[in-house]
């Protein structure tokens, strides 16, 4: 199932055939069904998907912060610098988290502790992980806040999260993720809650820091515009599976999966309106009743008998490209 293309060097993160399910009293919801993707150092991978596609659950499993129960990793590997995180002990994973793997959440206000000043929270990272002194930790907190562009950092280091605006809070979240210079940052919808003008500032900051620290970045989002702006490669997810991976330019120019194509065509553009938007018919499937065959076939304009019965593997659809569509070639040709 994993792609055959050999990456040039050992990737930073290599997720292989990951499976996660949620055991609820109403049945088992298969949230992630064999997801594979890789991220190299200094690279930005965008994981694109709608609600219920499993994009966030995959990230939680990688971080090791999956709520369990009800969530369980039932298969696969998460290779971080060649080591399978799933085989590590609780304590070892905790040490990797924060120091080498960091996460940025959508809602900075609820991800920050409201009763501690931001300086204390930032300093905590240094005190816990590097045993810095109180004074030293505070100085480094101020330096970090300056680095992420918080004006008057020295005066504001003692302020509490609610005293900052949404954009500033997201910068503080980024500062916290950055504190220990991790090798990989996972950003889960980091700008969804922000206004466009602020969103642009925050995305620019993230891209700049990624270059500066040569970090890997996984950007989880549903926004095709944000992806086009910052990603190197894209993994498109649907119903708990990766349905297409490709370098960003190729994917936008010629998608190799009908779902990706539908998504691209259904986004309204800033240009003049001329015709109704293309709309993918129907709705994503329930995770407790994933259709047989290709999971997208009930909504797919190209679906044939084969799609209703046989689940497509991730075909190689070109150099560095994969597509989980039996008819990827037709899709690709149709798009060109």
């Amino acid at each position: 199932m994993t792609e055959g293309g050999v990456p040039p060097a050992q990737p930073l993160l290599d997720v292989r055939d990951l499976r996660v399910e949620f055991r609820t009293r109403d049945g088992v919801a298969k949230a992630v069904n064999g997801v594979s993707y890789t991220v190299a150092a200094g690279q930005t991978l965008a994981v694109l998907g709608e609600s219920g596609s499993g994009k966030s659950v995959t990230a939680q499993a990688v971080m090791g912060i999956l709520d369990s129960p009800p969530g369980f990793v039932t298969g696969g590997q998460i290779l971080f610098r060649g080591r399978d995180l799933l085989t590590l002990g609780r304590e070892e994973r905790r040490r990797i988290r924060g120091a080498q793997l960091a996460m940025i959440f959508q809602d900075a206000l609820s991800a920050l502790n409201p009763v501690l000043s931001v300086g204390t929270q930032l300093g905590e990272m240094f005190r816990v992980h590097t045993g810095a002194s109180r004074k030293d930790a505070r100085a480094r907190a101020v330096a970090l806040m300056e680095r992420v562009g918080i004006p008057a950092a020295r005066q504001r280091v003692g302020d509490y999260p609610h005293q900052f605006s949404g954009g500033m809070r997201q910068r503080i979240m980024i500062a916290m993720a950055l504190a220990l210079e991790p090798a990989l940052i996972i950003a889960d919808e980091p700008t969804t809650a922000l206004d466009v003008t602020v969103q642009a500032q925050v995305m620019d900051l993230l891209a700049e820091l990624r270059r500066e620290y040569r970090m890997g970045l996984i950007l989880i989002t549903h926004d095709l515009g944000v992806v086009a702006d910052v990603a190197d490669t894209i993994a498109v997810m649907y119903a708990g599976r990766v349905v297409e991976t490709a370098p960003v330019h190729q994917l936008y120019k010629a998608p190799a999966h009908p779902y990706t194509r539908g998504l691209l065509e259904s986004v309204p553009r800033l240009g003049p309106k001329d015709r109704p938007l293309y709309a993918i018919k129907g709705l994503p499937p329930s995770l407790t009743a994933i259709p047989p065959g290709c999971t997208f076939h009930p909504r797919c304009p190209l679906a044939r008998d084969l799609c209703r019965t046989d689940r497509p593997p991730l075909y190689e659809a070109g150099p560095e490209r994969t597509s989980a569509c039996h008819f990827w070639k037709e899709t690709l040709d149709g798009a060109r």
């Binding site: 466009v196 642009a200 086009a228 990603a231 259904s266 800033l270 240009g271 709309a279």
Partner: protein, 344 residues
């Protein structure tokens, strides 16, 4: 009423929320100037898009239009009568004609009511709109119109997805055959593929029922797709208004230009040759807006004049003689056309 007369004529609309202090004796210590004197008109069959970032007052405008909030001052003219002065029966009659579609499909439907009761509630409140025996049939028709199975009438909201719920909300808004629908971020809570379905539905219904929309959103692309005319709001004021082409392709106000340039474009090729205007800082507090032009604290063109004199929303002097689409109302002393949207 002549066909070209505006259906809605909003003049100098103001909403200030008082800031009070004290427990027993309340003392007003200031006011949040959520909406601070805006005027616009809505013509029959037209869609007016209102865009702006959070806190600019666009939702407060929506709530005043449908009577959920009483304006501090100003006038909302509907077919010649000022509805802000109406109450009781007269207000109820006007409400039939101005309906609202809400943003969050999860909180806008009562979880304890069936779809039939939700969509039929307008008839229960306005019994004259449909005879009792006819209501069930009318509700089923409405469900069909918005693309839902009429047999779903006895189901509860939690049995539907977000997109389907939004359709239920639209069916409720259509029940009384209103002339105007005020939609406050109707698709921003939906997934991309479902969002397109609902946008298309709104466009189709407009043609079918001859509706006029006030479409409020922060997503500039969706607004462009649906709107005939667009008003850009910043900190309680309209800063620029014009047709879709005028605003998107020929913006003259620096805020509009910055806003448009910040919209992520789903085209990686545009990355390289796109010019981005990055604004510094945050939106000031509406409780204490800057003097003069409200945008001046973040504007790269700001000069001493901007702090002193508030620019009116009118065709700027420098563009008065222009003939092209750049000639439209823009509240800037130094208005100047600048194209920021790449041609796609």
């Amino acid at each position: 009423m002549a066909p070209d007369d505006p259906l809605l004529d909003v003049r100098d609309l103001v909403k200030h929320f008082p800031l009070t202090r004290g427990v027993l004796v309340r003392k007003q210590v200031g006011a949040v100037k959520a909406v601070d004197g805006i005027s616009f008109a809505l013509r029959p069959g037209e869609t007016l898009g209102i865009v702006g970032e959070s806190g600019c007052g666009k939702s407060t405008v929506a709530r005043m239009l449908v009577g959920l909030e009483r304006p501090t001052s100003g006038r909302i003219g509907y077919r010649g009568q000022d509805i802000t002065r109406l109450s009781g029966r007269a207000l109820k009659a006007v409400r039939r004609n101005i309906q609202m579609v809400f943003q969050d499909p999860y909180t806008s439907l009562n979880p304890r009511m069936t779809v039939g009761d939700i969509v039929g509630e307008p008839f229960a409140i306005h019994p004259e709109a449909a005879p009792k025996g006819d209501r069930r049939r009318r509700v089923q028709e409405l469900l069909e119109v918005v693309g839902l199975n009429p047999e779903f009438i006895n189901r509860y909201p939690h049995q539907f997805s977000g997109g389907q719920r939004q359709r239920i909300g639209i069916a409720r808004g259509l029940a009384l055959r209103p002339e105007i629908i005020v939609a406050d971020e109707p698709v921003s809570a939906l997934d991309v593929s479902v969002q397109a379905q609902v946008v298309n539905l709104l466009a189709r219904l407009q043609g079918e029922f001859g509706l006029s929309y006030v479409f409020i959103a922060h997503d500039l692309s969706v607004v462009r797709h649906l709107s005939d005319r667009v008003a850009v709001m910043y900190l309680g004021k309209i800063v620029e208004t014009g047709t879709g082409e005028q605003i998107y392709d020929h913006p003259t106000h620096p805020y509009t230009q910055a806003l448009l340039s910040a919209v992520p474009v789903p085209d990686p090729e545009a990355r390289a040759h796109r010019e981005r205007i990055l604004l510094s800082g945050d939106v000031p507090s509406p409780a204490d807006p800057p003097s003069g032009c409200r945008f001046r604290t973040r504007c790269w063109k700001a000069r001493e004049l901007c702090a002193r004199v508030e620019p009116p929303l009118a065709v700027p002097d420098v563009l008065r003689d222009a003939t092209g689409p750049a000639r439209h109302a823009s509240a800037c002393h130094f208005a100047e056309e600048r194209r920021v949207v790449p041609n796609t």
